[in-house]
Amino acid sequence: MTLMINRRQALAVGAGAVVLAGGFSVPAFAKNDSAELIEKFTGGKKPADGKIKLDLPEIAENGNTVPMTVSVESPMTEQSYVQEVLIVTDENPRAGVATFHFTPQSGVAEANVRIRLAQTQNVVAIAKMNDGSLFTTSKQVKVTIGGCGG
């Protein structure tokens, strides 16, 4: 059963165009560009809480490939649908993780990918609806050295 659900989720991702950001080519010392990316995505408008959900583990089993599902509670009709979802991190050398583009034909605003987290940090998701309204959520994911559990 779950297998089928996940394939459907994968198809949902396929239906939208996914832009995944590249690797860590920028040195990790400066504060990353998350504020700029968010500013550009929102046009300076403050997103509201709610509607959008990030499914991420509290502690990553492997920081190099962290399973992430983002979903937005919304109808997907011509009148009302989720247009884009931006995913950024606040401590990766480059903040951008992915931008998911949806259309009413996507059927459901949900995407399921693996992301790379260089260290313990917050992952931020912002959804843009077709009417321009914005919704956000975030979750901290701990990336540990590992070991020593009881």
């Binding site: 779950t2 297998l3 996940n6 394939r7 499914d55 583990p57 509290e58 502690i59 990553a60 089993e61 492997n62 399973p67 313990t120 901290q140 701990k142 540990t144 050295i145 590992g146 070991g147 020593c148 559990g149 009881g150």
Partner: protein, 554 residues
């Protein structure tokens, strides 16, 4: 209807073991006025221990955030006062560390699967087996020489005789995926773990729950394995399985079983107590959480909303009995007793005693082989140090010629009393894991601090969902100050080389020996060999609790 918990018979300290035993009887320990229509029996974190043992409860078990000062984060006299347990009583000996050495001589060893069998059979007989569920919270198949040598077979064979209805797991997984599946197939009960999925398709690996009918009540038991197995233990041993707390999955499964008609919902959990306390507050519809992993023994249930949390201790010291009156899909009343298995008081069950002897027979000579003696109490539990770990660290420093030793903050491991021999069984009880290699490597002072900060956050992150449930990594040759109230990365300061009293230099490389690395391909001799060599050379060890860790913010 909240009924007062009936605790074990309370005894004055007499100083004479025979007298104490005379006054405490099996009938006292089993005494229980039944309530309602269902009985849950819970045993957890046995850690491979088939026979009675000494186990000193922690002297320090600090809670942070909402858990600060709350059970199970109280120890010693404060614990006894909180639960109205007289000092030096049998309960005090079983549940707290105060006067442990003296009380151990009075009240003797605790536990043993043959004693557990007696209690379980007695409850089933008294209550009627059709009203009783026996649930094993996991960490059952690992923690001793025999369990390691047989890859859990000795434990599985003996546990089978107890006829549990379900179990979940943690250290079981360190035998690898194939072995876990093989052992599960050999058992007659369900292995439940709703939070384990395969990496590729996120499909469930184990049954998430099982429905039972007991006392006319439809009961759903959901299983939750240790969420951070691939983080706290080697990822490479379970490469295809993904864990996690998966709160949404817990919620979904609770809703599902309620829809399927469950009148009583039980979560058999290896989350750790604080994680379960948070979970209980966030996920509605769970009547009982049988907690595990953090090895807490609480003589009363902790109530969070409508959920009862039960903490049944570890190493087979206790069997929990929870009677429930379930009417119309709700718990109307309960009575709870944490039954301490005083080995000199409870008669061993003959069938189990024979099975245990058979299981131990192949290793009998090695188990009892004396390596040296101890003049002081050896124990492990405590947030920052234990004398058994001090012994291990001393062995690592000397046998691997290192400046600094790191030893994992495991919470399992038995105690050895002053004047006793240290046997190979004792050494294995503190070290028997499937990744025992003692590495020797250089680490910068900066890296050492990162390691300490990382483990400290696993213990003291104020959000329990970010905790892993072990204790702090034990250090040999290294002292430090920890402020547990500070945020991640800022808790550790004043790192000092104990030998010279010099501050740790972040830029300098130090020679470090340690064991239980989660990295694949770690090379070095098994830790039990080093401890054996060290103890044999010392002949008699004497270790007093050190003060190399200064604690703030507690």
């Amino acid at each position: 209807m909240q009924l007062a918990a009936a605790t074990a018979a309370v005894l004055p300290f007499t100083g004479a073991r025979g007298f104490a035993q005379q006054r405490l009887t099996q009938a006292d320990l089993l005494k229980f006025e039944p309530v309602g229509n269902v009985t849950l029996l819970h045993i957890t974190d046995i850690h491979g221990q088939l026979t009675p043992l000494y186990f000193r409860e922690p002297s320090l078990n600090l809670g942070v955030g909402d858990a600060r000062g709350q059970p199970p984060h109280i120890t010693g006299k404060a614990f006894l006062q909180r639960y109205g347990i007289p000092e030096k009583s049998a309960d005090a000996y079983a549940l707290a560390f105060e006067d442990f050495e003296a009380l151990a001589k009075t009240y003797g060893r605790i536990g043993g699967l043959d004693r557990a069998a007696t209690v379980i059979k007695s409850v089933r007989a008294e209550r009627g087996g059709d009203r009783v569920l026996l649930l094993d919270g996991g960490d059952t198949w690992q923690g001793s020489l025999g369990a390691l040598q047989t890859k859990g077979q000795d434990m599985a064979d003996c546990m089978k005789l107890l006829k549990p209805d379900a179990m979940t797991g943690h250290w079981e997984f360190t035998y690898g995926e194939a072995r876990v599946k093989e052992l599960i197939k050999s058992q007659d009960f369900a292995f439940l773990a709703l939070n384990v999925r395969d990496n590729d398709w996120q499909e469930p690996v184990f049954e998430p729950y099982k429905m039972f009918e007991r006392g006319g009540v439809k009961i759903a038991v959901l299983g939750q394995a240790f969420p951070y197995t691939p983080v706290a233990n080697p990822r490479w041993m379970v490469p295809n399985w993904s864990f996690g707390i998966r709160e949404d999955d817990v919620r979904a499964n609770v809703e599902k079983v309620r829809k399927e008609g469950a009148q009583l919902v039980v979560l058999l959990s290896h989350n750790g107590f604080d994680v379960d306390r948070k979970l209980a507050a966030r996920v509605p519809g769970i009547d009982v959480i049988l907690t595990g992993h953090t090895h807490d023994a609480l003589p009363e249930a902790v109530k969070v909303g409508n959920t009862l949390l039960i903490a049944s201790g570890c190493h087979g010291k206790f069997v929990s009995r929870l009677d429930l009156d379930v009417q119309g899909g709700a718990v109307k009343g309960f009575r709870y007793k944490l039954i301490p298995l005083f080995a000199d008081v409870i008669a061993p069950d003959a069938e189990m005693a024979a099975a245990v002897e058979k299981a131990r027979a192949p290793f009998a000579a090695e188990l009892k082989r004396e390596v040296g003696r101890t003049d002081s109490l050896l124990y492990r539990r405590g947030n920052f140090a234990g004398t058994f770990d001090d012994l291990i660290c001393a062995a690592l420093l000397q046998e691997r010629d290192a400046e600094i030793a790191l030893s994992p903050g495991f919470r399992w491991g038995t105690s050895v009393l002053p004047g006793q021999a240290i046997t190979m069984e004792d050494i294995h009880n503190a070290t028997a894991i499937t990744y025992p290699a003692v590495y020797r490597m250089t680490m910068s002072g900066e890296r050492l601090k990162e390691v300490l900060e990382d483990v400290a956050d696993n213990l003291f992150n104020p959000d329990p969902y970010y905790q892993q449930g072990g204790d702090m990594v034990r250090c040999g040759g290294l002292g430090y100050t920890i402020d547990i109230g500070k945020p991640a990365g800022q808790r550790i300061s004043d790192m000092t080389t104990l030998k010279t009293g010099q501050a740790i230099d972040p830029k300098r490389d130090y020679t470090v020996a340690g064991w239980a690395s989660v990295n694949e391909g770690t090379e070095g001799p098994p830790v039990w060999d080093l401890v054996e060599h060290y103890v044999a050379k010392q002949k008699t060890v004497r270790i007093q609790p050190g003060d190399s860790v200064k604690i703030r913010g507690a």
